[in-house]
């Protein structure tokens, strides 16, 4: 009887290991959340100091905000790769296996589409909707990729979509919902995943 139980364990483990990206570390989420919050706080205070602006000032402002957003993105992706690489090394796995390629592909399609769409809105002057759009497309991307990794990503995706819709309804508080979605939710889910998957294995 014991052999059969052990057999089932092996089968389950092999199916998961080969088809899912399990090197995702909760720490990546925590760092992404912190950098997202910092970026949002910076944007909040930066936006505070304007009232009547000339056209050139407005362009300079959007450039600063775009740089701010790109910095947050770079820090998040950089640390994301770093922590995944460390976790993969610890469990003797290659970081870029077929499961990794699959999940990146599934993430990329909605993210790139959403990125272009948000950028078009930005160029047409609908700055107020960008927070909602980025949240919704990011949520959809997570939802799409969640089949290939931990189940928490599914719920994180839904949370981001809800935050995005709220940001669209309460248009004046877009930045607040953006901070909750990209900042606090990442920290919360990151922490939960770190405790559930990473701490337990040590």
């Amino acid at each position: 009887m014991n052999k059969q139980a052990e057999d089932i364990k092996v089968i389950r483990e092999m199916m998961e290991k080969s088809s899912k990206f399990l090197s995702l570390s909760g720490l990546s989420g925590i760092v992404a959340g912190i950098s997202g919050t910092c970026g949002a706080v910076f944007a909040y205070f930066y936006l505070q100091c304007d009232s009547a602006m000339s056209h050139s000032e407005r362009i300079r402002e959007s450039l600063v905000l775009l740089t701010d957003a790109l910095l947050v993105l770079l820090v998040s992706i950089g640390f994301g790769i770093f922590f995944s690489w460390k976790k993969a090394k610890k469990s003797n796995q290659k970081l870029f296996n077929s499961a990794t390629k699959r999940i990146l592909y599934q993430l990329a399609i909605p993210l790139i589409a959403g990125g272009i769409f948000s950028f078009i809105f930005l160029l047409r002057g609908h700055v107020d909707l960008v927070a909602a759009l980025t949240l919704i497309f990011y949520g959809l991307a997570l939802l799409n990729a969640s089949k290939y990794t931990f189940e928490e990503i599914y719920y994180l995706g839904i949370t981001e979509i809800v935050c995005g819709l709220l940001a669209a309804i309460f248009l004046n508080h877009g930045l607040l919902f953006w901070t909750i979605g990209f900042g606090l939710c990442h920290i919360f889910y990151g922490l939960a995943m770190y405790i559930k998957y990473d701490l337990k294995k040590k």
Binding site: A5, I11, M15
Partner: protein, 96 residues
Amino acid sequence: MTSIISNLNKVFDSRIRLGIMSVLSVNEGADFNTLKELLEITDGNLASHLKALENIHYIQSRKQFIGRKPNTKYEITELGRNCFKEHLDALEKLMN
């Protein structure tokens, strides 16, 4: 009870063969090195088990070139999938 046990496939007595079939049943296919990494075994050991599964037509291999490197990709066959599923069902029944 004996009838349930007889449904267990002797081929899958080996953990390595069980592992190979598990990987191939949830993926479109896997190459030799991927399997080796997942199962954490030596080349020779893996090759002999793959050969055994291929000989009874549970899996099939396809040789291809990635750049200049030869690469063998393995896929599960219809027969292999059915036998593996029967084995899983039998295991499940035993556990209940």
